[in-house]
Amino acid sequence: MNPLSHFVKKLSILFGRQRFQSELDEEMTFHREQAEKEFLAAGMMPEAARYAAMRQFGNSTRLKEQTHEVVGFRAETVFQDLNFALRQLRRNPGFAVTAILILVLGIGVSVAIFGFVDAALLQPLPYAAPNRLMAVDESGAAFPVSNLSYYDYLDWKRLNRSFSSLEVYGGTGYLLRTSAGAEPVQAVRVSDGFFRTLGVHPMLGRDFAPGEDRPGQAKIAMLSYATWLKRFGARRDVIGQTIDLNSQTYTIVGVLPREFAFAPHGDAEFWAPLQDLNGCEQRRSCHNLDGIGRLRDGVTLQSAVADLKNIAAQLERQYPGSNQGQGAVALPLAEIIVGDVRPILLALLGGAGLLLLIACVNVASLMLVRSESRRREIAVRGALGATPARLTRQFVTEGLLLAVSGGLGGVVLAAWTMTVLTRLLPKGVATQMPYLADLRLNSHTLAFAAAVCLLASLLLAATPAIQLSFQKIRDGLAEGGRGNGSRVWRRFGANLVVVELAVAVVLLVGAGLLGQSFYRLLHVPLGFETDHLATVQVIAPDTIFKNDQQRVALGREVVRRISALPGVQSVGLTSVPPVACNCNTDWIRFVGKPFHGEHNEVNQRDVSAEYLATLKAKLVRGRLFADGDDASKPRVVLINETLARKYFPGEDPVGKKIGDGDLTPASIREVIGVVADVREGALDADIWPTEYTPFNQGPDNYFVVVTRTAQDDGSLLPTLVRTLHSIDPNLGTMDESTMNLRIGSTQPALLHRVSSWLVGGFAAVALLLGVVGLYGVVAYSVSQRTREIGVRMALGAQRSSVYSLVLGEATRLIALGISLGLVGAVAAALLIRKLLFGVQAWDAATLVSVAVLLAVSALLASYIPARRAASVNPTDALRAE
């Protein structure tokens, strides 16, 4: 018999199933009738003969099924299972909807978070051979990674043997002349081989040629793709056109491709060769650039670092004045770009994984409860001849159906979540994370979703299957049977609940710690009042404001005009706003104190007379600046308390003199006062020694206007910008924002906010699922023991002893779950301790409150069924079965 005609026959039976069925029916009826006749002929009574025939014939349904199996396809029974599974789920929509929703949530959240992890940590950087690209920087005593000085860079480039190319870049702001006036734009100055090193080719025009980054070369620039679209209407004839940046004419030579992004300067619109060195770049001691290098083939990162350190040591000997203590660091470029977000993303992925686990366990235990209540059905099907394999397959099919529905819903939820979350990112942060720009479902996330779905299916399919294998069909058939099946369930279901509770503890503790970190971060002492402060950055073109006098005059005019606005209480100018960074530093030396070339690194801020008063910073000693402290007066300086404590311990610093490393006469300033620490650095950074110098003694074309108003600070912002433009339309303004918003969107605040909210959400869901899971177990156990409880009560047991019977069991589970969870929580918290701020991983208060919270909710959840058990009427319970 050849397999083909075999198959064709089966197929014809499959399509003529109706006929097959009715023929089989007829044949069997005939058989029964014949047998009946024979019994009659043998002298049986008609009734008895019919029963005898039926008995002899046996179970006709089973017989039909067996016959069907011979001619049927395997797939056909799969469809039957599926059909039956669908019917089961439809019959119990509450269960189906709950289970699928839980799975959608668990799978959706974990797939979405994985999407972020994939985009940030797994996808390679969009450059050629990105794993050979290294970030190269200097390291100093105060900064493990600090900027690179231009002259040091030149020496490193010349002397190193490890990099096939070594390039530098540095961000800058330009004023772009547009038809509407001056507009500040972000730009990056790069050495000529920057794009060749990255392996990026312009999509239009040409790259910078070797040598074009030398001083005196023709001014040229490349456009980012977004700028080409926005400002130049995506015209291809843009190459060769000129633009006006800082009143200098630049020729556009190229447009960068759409997929190009450079995270450290994600918002850069223009890219220009270094060319003319700014003031900082003319000094070896001034650090303002960053390096990237491509490792030569076969060179390891370690040997490259050793190479650079050798060069740095050589430069230290050669230039002790500027290079003492300056080392070198190199690390994968990806580290610079995603290093900050890696711990938080991994923590979130862990949290999402735990949520997924709890969701699956919850659905599995729901299925267990349900399969318990379907024991009769299973037993009947078994008695009717369903094989154990077939019964197991039925449950596997139902589990698969749930997991697949949950998975499909989860993918949809994930796609939506990813879009929403990326949209929620503030613009400033989004530009630093260009890798999130195109976040959507891709092959990686779909593969991950499929894997998660598969694991969930395995768990969901295995749970009832394992349980089924323990169960004896006969027990199921026994009236009201509570055989070993229940014991299995109790053991199994109870284990699942312990897992759920433990996972809930881990997530709750994580959320508690992250929430506390976020709270403490937002409540670190700032040293000034953030409410009612409006800030705006100003860039004054240096072609118009050429000298210090003009700049001082501009500063005074800005303060005068803005102070006159209604509601404005005071106005100050600063070179760097507070809560920005420990940056713009100065190396100082003290007149009359021993000095051995050490780098006394302090923050340096140029501020106007009213600035510190506007912040409401506290003056501790001496006086603040006056508007008259300008170039015509002796040079003065204010210091913060940290500087006073560090360098003038036990002394009154007022009247002391501070200068640069060489005590150049022109650099000497007299300390006129001490202010309480204002947080200049990031929220999670240490307070650094800081010196404030009068704006009028060192004015700049760039400054930040800080305005304290009696009214709403947000509504003042447009007026501020208008006023500045009315002073001079050529003033560029940017980043107008209230102080509170500015602080809230700094990276530490943002990362902590995101992590505490997300993990908090995970924890809330976990708490709910865990408690509901426990309720299910206890309620089920009570419903199974109604009779036992009835007997106990009939024999004189008190209500209280029924309570303790039920609650005792629940308490054991809760205690076990919570203790396991606490151990896991401390371990998990140690893993995420990098994300914690001002709180320890083993913070007792958090651990205790989580334990109490969970214990109370869990006991409440078990109290409800316990109450039901205690209010059982013994006679009813005994009569019930």
Partner: protein, 112 residues
């Protein structure tokens, strides 16, 4: 009802084919014929008979068609095909080899 004797495994197909080799029969007739010709020793359970008949149909060893019985009832009659006859030969040979082998095993201790 007489105590049922279990058929030797694998022999049902052969018995059906052999029965059909004598004359076309319906399912009940096959069961009856096997029972009678074995002097009520072999009882074919319906639970095995109908699946077996479908199996044989599928293999192409028997054909089935609806005909009238002597009592004017419609019944499905099974006929042996050429392939079925060949298969019967194969199975008989195998069975005889098997029986002979079993017989030798059972005889040995007595001769020893």
């Amino acid at each position: 009802m007489a105590k049922k004797s279990d058929l030797l495994p694998g022999t049902l197909d052969m018995l059906i084919l052999k029965t059909l080799a004598r004359a076309p029969l319906h399912g009940y007739g096959i069961a009856l014929s096997i029972k009678r010709s074995s002097d009520d020793v072999l009882t074919v359970e319906e639970g095995s008979l109908y699946p077996a008949l479908q199996r044989l149909l599928l293999q192409g060893w028997v054909n089935a068609e609806w005909k009238m019985t002597e009592t004017k009832r419609r019944a499905r009659f099974y006929t042996l095909t050429t392939a079925g006859r060949k298969q019967l030969g194969i199975e008989l040979t195998q069975f005889e080899v098997m029986i002979a082998a079993i017989g030798r095993v059972l005889r040995d201790p007595l001769e020893a």
